[in-house]
């Protein structure tokens, strides 16, 4: 079936079997391999993308269901000149080691910070509970989210 949706501000479409997940659509049909397949059952969060402003596990969402909606992936954060503050903070604070959890983690952080640029550590932990990381031990990730939040509230702009 033909699935048309907005991805990172661009209208995209693909003809895919109905059982195609949003994750597979992004990775295999739209060339957006930032979202990852880590478990395929919605536990690890590496597939996290934002649909209509809400973070979801794209491995659990059918592409057909996402049709007509607004998807933001990791590829939509930076622009030609700048990193998104979250990407900047993650890089600077060493919150990315192997990097595989990175895109999902950053999208979950974006979901949080878009609603609240001054989260407490407890709120950050709650917001990132659906994203697993095996490398960093999470401490630097939490610090990076705090720093990113400060940068975002000082610029007061939401991409």
């Amino acid at each position: 079936m033909l699935v048309q949706l907005k991805v990172n501000g661009e209208l995209r479409s693909a003809d895919v079997p109905a059982e195609t997940t949003l994750l597979k659509l992004l990775r295999e049909h739209l060339g957006l391999t930032g979202a990852k397949l880590g478990c395929d059952v919605g536990d690890c969060g590496t597939c996290t993308v934002i649909v209509d402003g809400e973070s979801v596990n794209s491995c659990l969402m059918l592409a057909a269901r996402a049709a007509g909606h607004d998807i933001t992936t990791i590829e939509g954060l930076a622009n030609a000149n700048q990193l998104h503050p979250i990407q900047h903070a993650f890089e600077e604070l060493g919150a990315l080691q192997c990097g595989f959890c990175g895109p999902g983690m950053i999208m979950s952080a974006k979901h949080l910070l878009d609603k609240n640029t001054e989260p407490t550590v407890a709120e950050i932990r709650d917001a990132l509970a659906g994203n697993l990381c095996r490398c960093t031990g999470y401490t630097k990730i939490i610090e990076a989210v705090v720093v990113a939040g400060r940068a975002m509230s000082s610029t007061d702009a939401r991409p």
Binding site: T33, G34, G38, Q82, L83, F90, G99, R134
Partner: protein
């Protein structure tokens, strides 16, 4: 996306420049713009990376930038024209003889392009120390994660469906799961012969029996650690592409690609010059991606089909088929004097060696040498055995034997301190290595800071205050 007034923009730039004073060359950080991402982005380097000397500077990881952008290419992100997908059928039994494998129904499934069984592999054995592991089991399966047959198909779903059509006839054999049981004479011998012990180590120093007899106290306890799976967030993944010149290119999440190429050369019976093995950023290794898994299978399937073949472990495969950390069963007998001085330690380590050797030889070596702990012990006997069991192959995982024995000797130090009424910190300081101490294998140790570290740490986290 929001657009901004000029004033707010200026304020932001000033604010950001002030906080970014370590990197004056950097562009100010501005979020909005309506341009879609243009690859590649040219962003300034962090100033710390531009300084010399670099030692003492705060550096950022060069790959952090690409990770944050989602641009890092892991194996599963790579695709080629005409790529097809492979899946491996895993054993239905923990221990069984394979009587027959009937691939005909799987081969007939529309969309299946090739199949593979173990007997088609030119040299069906590999391993870093003992080459006891088959690429695909041909005669005997030794654990539930053992691969038995593989298919390559146009889609992953067809490949998965094809696995269900493979008919394997097994003759179940008696399995053994407990390593202590596997030591017994009447246990099933998983790799034949008259013992399941496949590697062992002995370290002897002084006269442990004499010293134990002279000790004021003798402590004995058995400690056990459990199996641990690495759970790298990136599952094992590889792609193989055989070309018309008879050379194979393999992209793999493998961490040790030189060894991997040796294993490919061996199993495919190909000169190394015909093998190109490309590693990339690995999404988490921790020891579990140190040896080949499906790579020879994919190479053979690619040769049969003339197409690039990819396979990615499912999370389930990761748990049953990729290697795990060795469970240790550790018997510690320690002779101690009244003042807390340890004069003798006798240790028996039994490693649950899983179905195949993998990195056990390294693990048993490290585990044995470190088994006594960072303590001066004049009289020492360590006997370590690795035993086959019909469970997931135990291999390398961060520490390689060190974490297991550490749990044992440190737990016992606390037992000893408690019994003697001594401060657990004091008893460690009394016995710890110092500069010039000899390791259990008589290496003279240098740059030894055990005592200083313990003292500083205990002061910092308030050991005395915490003591009841």
């Amino acid at each position: 996306m929001a657009t901004r007034t000029k004033d707010v923009q200026t304020d932001t730039e000033e604010l950001v420049t002030a906080t970014e004073s370590r990197a004056p060359a950097k562009q100010p950080l501005i979020v909005p713009a309506d341009q879609p991402v243009a690859f590649p982005l040219q962003l300034p380097e962090f100033s710390a990376r531009l300084k010399t000397p670099a030692v003492g500077q705060r550096a950022t990881r060069p790959d952090g930038r690409l990770h944050g952008l989602g641009q890092t290419q892991y194996i599963d992100d790579i695709t080629f024209p005409h790529l097809i997908h492979a899946k491996v059928l895993r054993s239905a039994h923990p221990h069984a003889r394979i009587i027959s494998i009937d691939m005909s129904a799987a081969e007939a499934l529309p969309g299946v392009l090739a199949t593979l069984t173990g007997k088609e592999i030119p040299v069906n054995s590999f391993g870093p120390t003992l080459q006891d592991q088959p690429v695909l089991a041909a005669e005997v399966v030794r654990h539930r994660g053992d691969g038995v047959a593989a298919v390559a198909a146009l889609t992953e779903q067809i490949a998965t469906d094809a696995l269900e059509l493979i008919k394997v006839e097994y003759e179940p054999l008696q399995p053994v799961f407990d390593p202590l049981e596997a030591l017994e004479d009447d246990s099933p011998k998983i790799h034949g012969g008259d013992t399941n012990v496949y590697t062992s180590k002995v370290i002897k120093k002084g006269d442990v029996e004499k010293a134990l007899a002279e000790a004021d106290h003798v402590f004995h306890r058995q400690f056990q650690t459990q199996a641990v799976e690495h759970v790298p967030i990136e599952p094992h993944a590889s792609i193989a592409s055989w070309d018309a010149n008879g050379r194979v290119s393999v992209w793999s999440s493998l961490g040790r690609i030189t060894l991997g190429r040796e294993d490919l050369a061996r199993t495919l019976d190909l000169p190394q010059s015909k093998i190109r093995l490309i590693g990339t950023i690995v999404g988490g290794n921790f020891g579990g991606k140190n040896e080949i898994t499906n790579e020879p299978i994919l190479a053979m399937l690619s040769r049969k089909t003339g197409r690039p073949v990819k396979s990615v472990f499912t999370r389930g495969d990761e748990f049953i088929s990729s290697t795990i950390r060795h469970p240790f069963t550790m018997d510690y007998t320690t002779g101690v004097m009244n003042d807390g001085l340890i004069i003798a330690r006798k240790i028996r380590l039994v490693l649950d060696g899983g179905a195949y050797c993998s990195w056990t030889a390294t693990t048993i070596g490290k585990g044995s040498i470190l088994a006594a702990g960072p303590y001066n012990i004049e009289n020492l006997l360590v006997e370590a055995y690795a035993v086959y069991t019909n469970k997931t192959t135990t291999g390398a995982m961060r520490g390689f034997g060190a974490p297991q024995v550490c749990f044992a000797y440190e737990s016992q130090m606390d037992d000893i301190a408690h019994k003697l009424g001594m401060d657990p910190l004091e008893i460690r300081l009394k016995n710890a290595f110092t500069e010039g101490s000899a390791s259990p294998t008589s290496q003279t140790l240098q740059s030894v800071a055990v005592k200083e570290s313990l003292v500083q740490a205990s002061e910092r986290f308030g050991w005395k205050e915490w003591q009841r």
